[in-house]
């Protein structure tokens, strides 16, 4: 009976606050109340901080809800890990955790559209980080955690999670790079690009490479030694662009791309499940299982091949080594932020990274996890590791770069940039490209 009365009063109170014009005055009163309480806890904190560990146990985290967004195929895995996290942290039992399947691409877009409705913790691919920082969708990693992250993960991963001089996210994988999957009954020698394409053409099979992606394109440009990097400040704004695409090196790369695109075996794409009649595909570890299914017994992988440039020199294909990150969104409540920090640190720790590898084969960014035998024995991951020595860790790039690169790729594929164009024309294309790239940094 008493309980019922309380709930009636609660609803009444809620109704009242609603009546008060969407809770204007009532909320203000409440706010001042919590502010008072906060100053109280702050005082208490400074007092207890000296008392060190004991304080941790008596911290009242209150109650709340934490929403986590991860890709669909790791939802179950994340739920299991969160259950373990809850066991280990009984003091945070006031919080409920929900995991929703929102892929890395959608997550960033949604977070930018409406930060407040977005997840508290979300996984995203590193190319989104600058955008997310600018939109105020990423909280700075707490100092203690930041030290751990920096010391336990590989340098590339840490750089990828850093904007300006500040660490904004927790690396979870270090496998966002690409290499070659191929059918060993068709492709005899995967060491040269020309050989691969010739084998594919002879067998009437397709060679997949996503030319219209700013991410894959760099395999050619960086391979010949052309450069494109950006520098950011702490707010996620791009300050400088270092580019040497408009150079002889760039032209060599562009010529090779045009040559590849004109092969009858060439198909634009990097997704195994969209590939048909495929004998070789440049793709990442996330497609390892799909590639195994597709190639069956003939499954094989290797680092990216070398190619012979128009200038007669041999170049090793390069590209990006990329990372998947876990971000915490800015919170209006200190305690909830502490819970989110703790969970994000846990989900990106060595143990969970290993478990994640076991569950879904995502290559860890944690140094110790990388040294484990299982990871070292993985075919796809070792091909990636071979490739990684030729790639550059992917830093920050403005969102516009990716769409610009898509335009360049589409123009190459459609023949708008002609395969037999002279060097001056190609140089003009690259100069335009570089100028536009530079215009993104202010």
């Amino acid at each position: 009976m008493k309980k019922k009365l309380v709930s009636v009063m609660l609803t009444a109170a809620m109704g009242m606050s609603l009546l008060a014009g969407c809770g204007n005055s009532a909320a203000e009163v409440a706010e001042t109340a919590t502010e008072v309480a906060e100053t109280a806890t702050e005082v208490a904190e400074t007092a207890t901080e000296t008392a060190a560990e004991v304080a941790e146990e008596i911290t009242d985290y209150g109650t709340g809800e934490v929403k986590v967004w991860v890709a669909d195929n790791v939802v179950d895995f994340t739920n299991e890990q969160i259950a373990k996290f809850q066991e280990a942290h009984p003091e945070m039992s006031g919080y409920t955790f929900t995991v929703e399947p929102v892929g890395e691409g959608d997550a960033a877009g949604n977070m930018i559209t409406d930060v407040e409705a977005g997840a508290d913790i979300y996984a995203f691919a590193q190319d989104q980080i600058a955008r997310l920082v600018t939109a105020g969708a990423l909280e700075v990693v707490e100092d203690a955690n930041a030290e751990v992250v920096k010391s336990e993960n590989d340098a590339g991963a840490v750089a990828a999670a850093t904007v300006g001089g500040t660490l904004y996210a927790y690396p979870i994988t270090s496998d966002n790079g690409y290499f070659l999957y191929y059918d060993k009954s068709v492709v005899k020698d995967p060491s040269t690009l020309e050989g691969i394409i010739a084998d594919c053409e002879a067998a009437g099979k397709n060679f997949y490479f996503e030319l219209n992606s700013g991410w894959y394109q760099t395999a050619f440009f960086f391979g010949t030694g052309a450069e494109l990097t950006y520098e950011t400040n702490d707010e996620g704004n791009f300050t400088t662009c270092n580019s040497s695409y408009a150079s002889d090196k760039g032209v060599v790369a562009l010529k090779k791309m045009l040559e590849v695109a004109s092969s009858k075996s060439f198909q634009n794409g990097s997704s195994v499940s969209n590939a048909t009649n495929c004998a070789a595909i440049v793709d990442g570890t996330w497609d390892a299982q799909a590639a195994k299914d597709m190639f069956g017994d003939n499954y094989a992988c290797a680092k990216l091949p070398t190619f012979e440039g128009a200038d007669g020199k041999t170049y090793q294909m390069s590209g990006f080594g990329g990372f998947k990150l876990l971000g915490v969104k800015p919170q209006e409540d200190d305690m909830k932020l502490a819970v989110c920090d703790a969970l994000a640190a846990y989900l990106s720790g060595e143990e969970v990274q290993m478990a994640r590898y076991d569950a879904v084969l995502w290559g860890p960014s944690n140094l110790k996890a990388q040294q484990s035998d299982a990871v070292k024995a993985d075919e796809a991951l070792s091909a990636l590791a071979d490739q990684l020595q030729y790639t550059i860790p992917q830093g920050q790039y403005p969102g516009d770069y990716w769409s610009l690169a898509t335009s360049l790729g589409d123009s190459i594929i459609s023949g708008e940039v002609k395969a037999d164009a002279d060097d001056a024309t190609l140089m003009q294309v690259l100069t335009d490209f570089q100028t536009t790239c530079e215009s993104y940094a202010k």
């Binding site: 009546l19 008060a20 014009g21 969407c22 204007n24 702050e42 877009g109 930018i112 559209t113 930060v115 407040e116 955008r131 600018t134 939109a135 105020g136 969708a137 909280e139 700075v140 707490e142 009437g204 397709n206 219209n212 704004n237 009858k264 198909q267 634009n268 794409g269 969209n274 590939a275 048909t276 009649n277 495929c278 800015p330 919170q331 209006e332 409540d333 200190d334 932020l337 969102g399 769409s403 898509t406 335009s407 360049l408 589409d410 123009s411 594929i413 459609s414 023949g415 708008e416 940039v417 294309v429 335009d432 490209f433 215009s439």
Partner: protein, 465 residues
């Protein structure tokens, strides 16, 4: 014709101001000639009607006034007061905690809503005054006021339209008019990915975005805009007329005398209407892919050596979307034409046949003029519909292939509407999207207006009867 329309317009404007003047005059006379009940009603809505026993009307007016002040005090004013700057308090950090400042987005949105409320308030005030005046005049002339019951019942008879339209009109106001006004205003702000609420503020920038649209140098997107606009117009023309004539042709085939299973043929065609487009178009997109089913079989059968780049070649991609659109669009035309073709009097054809006309001549001089006349407005709505045909383009190509010659992610098959969509959803570039939206409106409106006035069925309502 044009002249009379012009003078009509002038008259309309003159009438409007006349009505406005009369309105003010009426307010004045009501106050001067009114009794104390009426005078107090100027401040307290419905005071007069309440005292005169018109409880229903009086209470409704009073309730609306109370509602307005309650809304403004608790909600509306805090947004409306900041609409000039769209907020000045920036988001800041207190310790590690984030304290959000002003939310420019909500200020603009609810500021506009509050403005609407103010407008509505003025209108209600005016209605309130007129009601008082009406009642006073009725009483003066010795007539009785309608009873409350009569007032209520009139909502089902004389004022039935008010009952019927109240809900739809409110709905359209909140969920269509308000958002449209909001987005028009966004075109004059710098709301984009760098000024995203709630973490960052945005503010008014005047005509800057429009300048960017028509700027052909540097970062301006003028040339891309022209490119996309032209293709949008060409696409709509091709899509409309291929569907129209081919649809008419197929309908005539099915309707031909001596052809059996008419219903079966139609049912087969109608499948494309019935099956949801996101299923059928996505499948067709995959079918035409470079490595898709069609290329696969053509290569397997040895008909072609290398794949046909249906989606990756700019020209071919445009042709392919038009062709697939025929597949999607013909059935509508077949359905429509089937009914209409049967309306053409058979004796027209008989006499033509006696005169020795061949089928083509009969089509040219009887069928086609009739169809064009009857379906003129339909063609127009089809054309404007195709200008904004999002589904076909987006599900098939997403506007691709892109090109180094086009800015802002625009592709060779992009229509204004798909380009705008990509800008809002992928780039959160709302400022330019809003400008584009206004352009889409202008294009649609201009074409509708021009073509509508040219339609034979509008010029001559009695023809062909």
């Amino acid at each position: 014709m044009a002249q009379s329309a012009d003078s009509n317009k002038k008259n309309a404007i003159a009438n409007f101001f006349k009505a406005l003047g009369n309105g003010f005059k009426e307010i004045g006379t009501t106050f001067v000639e009114g009794d104390f009940k009426t005078k107090i009603s100027f401040l307290i809505f419905g005071f007069g009607p309440l005292l005169r026993g018109q409880i229903l009307i009086g209470a409704a007016l009073l309730a609306l006034e109370v509602l307005f002040f309650w809304f403004m005090a608790g909600f509306g004013w805090k947004y409306l007061s900041k609409i000039g700057t769209l907020g000045t308090v920036a988001t800041k950090k207190v310790g590690r905690k984030t304290v959000y400042g002003d939310n420019s987005f909500l200020i603009l949105l609810f500021g506009v809503l509050a403005l609407f409320a103010v407008l509505a308030f003025v209108v209600i005030w005016y209605i309130n005054i007129r009601e008082n005046r009406k009642e006073e005049l009725l009483l003066k002339s010795g007539k009785k006021l309608p009873t409350n019951n009569e007032v209520f019942m009139s909502l089902f008879d004389k004022n039935f339209h008010k009952t019927l339209l109240a809900l739809p009109v409110t709905g359209i106001f909140v969920f269509t008019v308000l958002p449209i006004v909001f987005m028009i205003l966004v075109a004059f702000t710098n709301y984009d990915k760098n000024h995203q609420s709630p973490s960052n503020l945005f503010t008014w920038v005047g005509l800057e975005n429009f300048k960017n649209l028509v700027s052909f140098s540097g970062a301006g997107i003028g040339s891309t805009f022209t490119h996309v606009l032209l293709w949008t117009l060409v696409w709509a023309f091709l899509a409309t007329f291929t569907n129209y004539f081919l649809g008419l042709g197929v309908a005539m085939l099915i309707n031909k005398k001596g052809i059996k299973f008419k219903k079966l043929w139609r049912t087969i065609l109608v499948m494309t209407i019935a099956v949801p487009q996101f299923v059928s178009l996505l499948y067709v997109m995959k079918m035409f892919a470079n490595d898709g089913l069609i290329n696969g079989y053509l290569i397997k059968w040895g008909l072609i050596k290398t794949y046909i780049p249906f989606w990756t070649d700019p020209v071919l991609a445009r042709i392919t979307v038009v062709v697939v659109n025929i597949w999607i669009g013909i059935p509508y035309m077949v359905l429509i034409a089937t009914g209409l073709l049967m309306n053409i009097p058979e004796d027209l054809y008989e006499s033509a046949r006696i005169d020795g006309a061949n089928p083509w001549q009969m089509f040219k001089s009887i069928t086609l003029p009739y169809m064009l006349f009857v379906t003129g407005p339909f063609l127009l709505t089809q054309y404007t519909g195709n200008l904004n045909n999002f589904n076909v383009i987006y599900l098939l190509t997403q506007g691709k292939p892109q090109s180094v010659n086009l800015a802002e992610k625009a592709g060779n098959t992009d229509l204004l509407i798909t380009w705008l969509y990509k800008m809002t959803v992928n780039d959160t570039n709302y400022r330019m999207a809003a400008v584009l939206g206004i352009m889409v409106f202008v294009v649609t409106a201009v074409i509708s207006l021009v073509v509508y006035n040219m339609l034979p069925s509008v010029k001559d309502e009695e023809g062909f009867q």
